[in-house]
Amino acid sequence: MSGLFGSLSIALSGLSVSQQEMATTSNNVANASTPGYTREVTDIAAGDPIELGSLSLGTGVVLQKIESLRDPILQIQMNQATQQNSAFDASQTQMQQIQTQFASSTSGIGADISNFFNSLQQLSPDPSSLTLRQGVLTAANTMATDFNTAASSLQTQRSNIDLSVAQSVSQVNSLTAQIAGVDQQISALQSTNQAPGTLVDTQNNLILQLSGLIDVQVIPTDQGITLATSNGTALVSGSQSFALTTQETGGVQHIMAGAQDITSSLTGGSLAGLIQIRDQEIPSISGSLDQLAAGLANNLNAANAEGTDLENPPQPGGNIFATPKAGGVGAAATMTVTMTDPSLIAASSDGTTGSNGNLANLSAVATQPLGNEQTQTPIDFYSNLVSQVGSSTANTSADADSSSLILQQLQDENGSISGVSLNEEAANLIQYQTAYQAAAHVVSTVNLLLLDAVNLGMDEAES
């Protein structure tokens, strides 16, 4: 391989490698802002030398491979951090919405309860006053209406979350199908010993998007990757994806993997956050409102029954509120003031219209345990609920903030490894350009020398 042609061949290898290097740089620069793109570097090596006696002659340069710079561990960490952050973010958004119902201390259910018992207090010095009695019924109606509104807002929010869950599941299915599709392409390339290159980036980016929705673990296998939720439900196996389905159970969409209900076993992604609010937080808050509404209605009805009304002859007090269902299920949503005639409030304890004796029993409901295993007074029970909702929201916000910081940090780290640095690419470009120019110079020199060699005989013939 020595000789001028040998030199030409070596110079050509230099030209070719420099071109490929410049192509790699161009691709990096072009994809500098492509999401999920990891920068590629060329791996070049000197060609195998030729041994000529004691001489070892080089044969130029070879491009061995083009490699994407990525850190698989970091990818896994980013997926996990995304799953956590998305779950907390989803919960946080919902909790922020829930807590607005409990935001005011001077209006809403808490203030309604205070105002209702105050209306009884106002009736006490003048128990036969129809105006003051009407005040009691009006306060009772306001209270019932606010219970209804709060319960129905929570229910509406729950239905909206349920819709989001169903939408997220179809997004999950679309993503897993895409991931499986890309995996098939990667396998095809790998089977012919070709580097999958940017296809892996595409796949990783899809997995990251999937992590935003659901907890997913990546298990690399010989037949491509396997994706499974943390409880082991397979989503993708190589080039095959397994669609999740939804099925209505107990009024909400449950997530099914085949026949298995995986709803409550999801631990990450926005789905986990949404389900946590839909199946835990909202039912718990609604349940508390139900207990409060049922306790108030039952206790006030019972207290009213102990006295007599303004009718002639006086009658034992009837129900102020519709009787809640046993156990109080749905009591807040259905709380209704059935008493429409203010003279039916049983203020009297001795059968006369001027007695206020039974108002003490009605007022005492404010300071007595709510009943049904609740030992707190109505207002204490409510203020405790406010504190619970507030703490829950504050905790979710803090979790969302800290998980977002972790994610940010991992993204920065990943950017420094896999991100495209334009400065570095420019420097490389200068280097490759110079190398190309040098190699081209060698070609042109060899060319001149070859011309000389070819003309050598001609000159002699002429002379």
Partner: protein, 290 residues
């Protein structure tokens, strides 16, 4: 760049939070701002509502007590007048026609007493026990106890809460005031009229009226005491109201100076982040390649 954007988002959130606090004047705008304070504010509003409510009740009760009290004052004056007339009649120097005139005057006082005992405040008879819808004293010459009136009210008493766990009785039944066995005002007056009409035992009858009048004065003390209680309770409730409102401020009102300083800080931070993003070098080596 992503770090700067995150920082910008964060400072803008802080800016919004400070603006919200300043515009609402509240440091707790949603429960998550301070869950414990949010819960305490519910309790605080409950106390504020009840304190205002008690003050309103106290004011109504005071009006009721004042009506009863001034009525009793009029009754006492009428009894004093009856006493003077009785003493005059018992002097033994008056002619029969004069005695008949005094008896007439005494009958007038008796009617006045019945009318006063049937005093109503806003449609409710104040001396009827809890049977406030009907006039409690009905004139009946054949009344079994000889008092000339029959009591159709009852002996019940209403209690009104004027504070948390603080109840006071707000009425004394008319039977206890005017028909108390041994100190019956109406019996004493009726007996005096008959004594003057028959000119017999006037002295004894006058003494009975005097005793009934003293008894009634003693009973009147109840209204004085109750009024005193409501007055001191008003003072207490007003102080409590102030304290509750201060507590509300401590719990939920924004520290304007701190909030304004936070706002300035957040604005400065936000400006700094914006400036940093704006000045972030968009140059790279490519710009210098020719």
């Amino acid at each position: 760049m992503p770090d700067l954007l995150a920082a910008l988002n964060q400072t803008q959130l802080e800016e919004q939070q400070a603006e919200l606090q300043i515009s609402t004047g509240k440091s707790v705008n949603v429960p998550s701002d301070n869950p414990v304070a949010a819960a305490l504010l519910v309790e605080n509003n409950d106390q504020a509502t009840f304190t205002s409510g008690y003050l309103q009740s106290v004011s109504v009760v005071q009006d009721q007590l004042a009506t009863a009290s001034s009525t009793l004052g009029s009754i006492t004056s009428a009894l004093q007048q009856a006493l003077s007339l009785g003493v005059e009649a018992g002097g033994g120097t008056l002619a029969a026609s004069d005695l008949a005139g005094i008896a007439n005057q005494l009958q007038g006082i008796q009617s006045q007493l019945v009318s006063l005992a049937n005093t109503a405040y806003q449609g409710n008879y104040v001396f009827a026990g809890t049977k406030t819808s009907t006039a409690p004293f009905v004139v009946d010459a054949a009344a079994p106890d000889g008092s000339g009136v029959i009591y159709v009210g009852n002996a019940d008493v209403n209690d009104v809460s004027i504070g948390s766990g603080y109840k006071i009785a707000v009425n004394v039944p008319g039977s206890q005031l005017f028909l108390a066995p041994g100190n019956s005002v109406f019996l004493a007056i009726n007996n005096l009229i008959q004594a003057v009409q028959t000119n017999t035992g006037i002295g004894t009858a006058v003494n009975a009226v005097s005793a009934a009048s003293s008894y009634l004065s003693a009973e009147t003390v109840f209204y004085g005491n109750a009024t005193d209680q409501t007055q001191s309770q008003t003072t207490y409730l007003n102080a409590a109201k102030l304290q509750i409102s201060q507590q509300q401020n401590t719990l939920g009102a924004v520290d304007m100076a701190a909030a304004a300083s936070n706002l300035t800080q957040a604005q400065t931070d936000s400006q700094a982040a914006l400036a940093a993003i704006g000045k972030l070098s968009q140059n790279n080596l490519f710009d210098y390649l020719t």
